[in-house]
Amino acid sequence: MLLSFVISGLGVGAVYALSGVGLVILYRTTGVLNFAFGAIGALGAFFANEVLNAGYPAVLGWLCSIGAGAAVSCLYGRLVAPLLAPRDPVVRAVGTLGFALILLGTMGWYWGDVPRRLALPSDAIFFEISGTRLTLTRIVALGFLLSVIASVTLTLMYTRLGLAMRALADDRRLSSILGVRVISVELTGWLISGVSAGICGVLLANLVRLQALHLTFLVIPAIAAAIMADLSSLAITAVAGIAIGVIEACLTLWPLLAPYRTAAPFFVSLLSVFFLAFRAHQSGRPR
């Protein structure tokens, strides 16, 4: 019984984790916490839905979603983000909230607010583990998560681009003086974030539902995962995201807690922030 809920939670958890990783990558590169991540993913999912409804293969749908996510993310990263770059991190985050509202309004106007489901051919393929079905879509979600974490970690550790990204994360102005091409490196961060958003959009539209408002604000549990990792560690973000998905699913088993199961990420992240605040207080160093 519990296993089926764990498996069910793994899929959504993997997408939360992937979203959280996308957020942390961008934050580490540019110092921007992207509130528009969910809206960018939703836009990608709507494009994918159009392609699939037109009878094209699923791979094309995936590519369209990833392409749309990358394109709008880079558009913001190139046109608007540099204008806010010298401002406080919280103002830069609020800027992405404006972008999220633009995308949300546009999607709601064009595609409407009626919830629908994005069906993928991979839903029909499944494996049985102790009598519980594990669909290929959920395996794809976990696969994407692992490959994004591995590729980004290797890029950050072993390439010149990764070195430039880490330098930017430490000090934007000094990096610029040392010859780091700030705009293009930051744009790479926006590109990676947009690609992650495109992937997450399709997966969430399939595993949860395709609705602009819902997908836009599904970024909040992903932010919770990122907070638990102090907006810095990709691995901890991934583990926290998966844990959120699994805990959410497993709480369904307890009737008393079931109505509050989707609040789990918020309360856990609140506790982790209090822990960070306590540590900051103990060490006497502001974080």
Partner: protein
């Protein structure tokens, strides 16, 4: 440019003048709101009076958000949830004890203030972004909890839920039973809230906030208790939100648990920035944008999603080129006309 620098560059945040003159210009707030409310009471139909009543409640909640952002650069993304908490407490007390409306109003304010502080104050020790995130998590949590609990509607027990046929409406104050009178009552409460906020800005807390805004090290060396004054601002903002929730509950009679998603808190913050966080007129504009503009779009048959996209554009515009928001632009325009008038004379 940091938030503090942006805020200091805003002419509206310059310290008020010396002596009594720092208080006399506060009279413009009740005078402006009384004139506007009188006009609405005379000319508006029932639909618009109800819409503008909820706009006054939203404006009061926005004044708290504006206080935090405009004075301290703190971003609170849970203000709409605190409004919901205030509404819940007011409804519960009203049905359970039939207390006078004003007592419910105060209790709602205190409850929201305490809950907001319990969650927000630990985050005040961290970077500004963390306060934004903690408050967002609080908003997310409240969305789930209120979705499960619902708002009290006259039933028994802690949750106060009643069967559909036995649902009650919250009693309004005895002096404001009709929609028109309740609108004037809400406007008076809004005026009082704005006055309290402006009074704080012009007295010791305002000076402490200005020092903190200039730099925490500066404030500490000047003997300001940074955490206390930040917490004070947070408590005041929570109080305004709670009172706003009670006003909203009194206006409609009941509240719907589905109407308090975390996204509403994000919208409220976005529109507070658009309205202008450095001037008392800003929250009034925010209330109108959130309630009246949406109703206006509906009146003209325009998709409400267009309004959302416009709000997003306006937010980006405010952040990039107009940090003082619409209020700042209106005031600048009036000042320009004033100078031209004096020059012409």
């Amino acid at each position: 440019m940091t938030i503090a620098e942006a805020a200091v560059s805003d002419a509206r945040l310059e310290p008020p003048g010396p002596g009594l003159s720092r208080y006399t210009d506060l009279l413009i707030i009740p005078m402006f709101l009384a004139a506007a409310a009188g006009g609405v009471a005379v000319w508006a139909n029932g639909y618009w009076i109800v819409t503008l009543t909820s706009a006054t409640a939203i404006a009061l909640a926005a004044s708290g958000t504006a206080l935090l952002y405009g004075q301290l650069g703190l971003v609170s993304l849970c203000q709409y949830s605190l409004l919901g908490i205030g509404g819940w407490v007011a409804l519960r007390l009203s049905f359970a004890f039939a207390l006078p409306f004003e007592i419910n109003l105060l209790a709602a304010g205190v409850a929201s203030s305490v809950i907001g502080m319990l969650c927000g104050v630990p985050a005040l020790r961290l970077r500004g972004l963390y306060l934004a995130l903690v408050t967002l998590m609080l908003a997310g949590g409240f969305q789930v909890v209120i979705g499960a609990w619902g708002f009290p509607d006259g039933g028994a027990g802690f949750f106060g839920r009643a069967d559909a046929s036995q649902r009650l409406l919250m009693a309004r104050p005895a002096i404001a039973v009709s929609n028109g009178a309740y609108f004037l009552y809400s406007t008076a409460v809004l005026a009082f809230g704005l006055l309290v906020s402006e009074f704080h800005r012009r007295t010791k807390p305002g000076r402490a906030w200005a020092l903190i805004r200039a730099g925490e090290t500066t404030a500490l060396s000047a003997g300001v208790n940074v955490l206390f004054y930040k917490a004070w601002a947070f408590a005041l903002a929570g109080f305004f939100a709670g009172v706003a929730g009670a006003l909203l509950a009194g206006g409609v009679g009941q509240l719907d648990g589905r109407a308090f998603p975390a996204s509403e808190s994000l919208n409220l913050f976005a529109l507070t920035v658009v309205g202008g966080a450095g001037h008392w007129l800003g929250p009034v504009i925010t209330g109108l944008l959130l309630r009246a503009v949406a109703s206006l779009f509906t009146d003209y048959g325009i998709d409400g999603n267009i309004a959302i996209a416009c709000f997003g554009l306006a937010l980006l515009h405010s952040l990039v080129v107009a940090p003082s928001g619409l209020a700042g632009q209106v005031i600048s325009l009036l000042e320009r006309f004033g100078r031209r008038g004096k020059g012409g004379a």
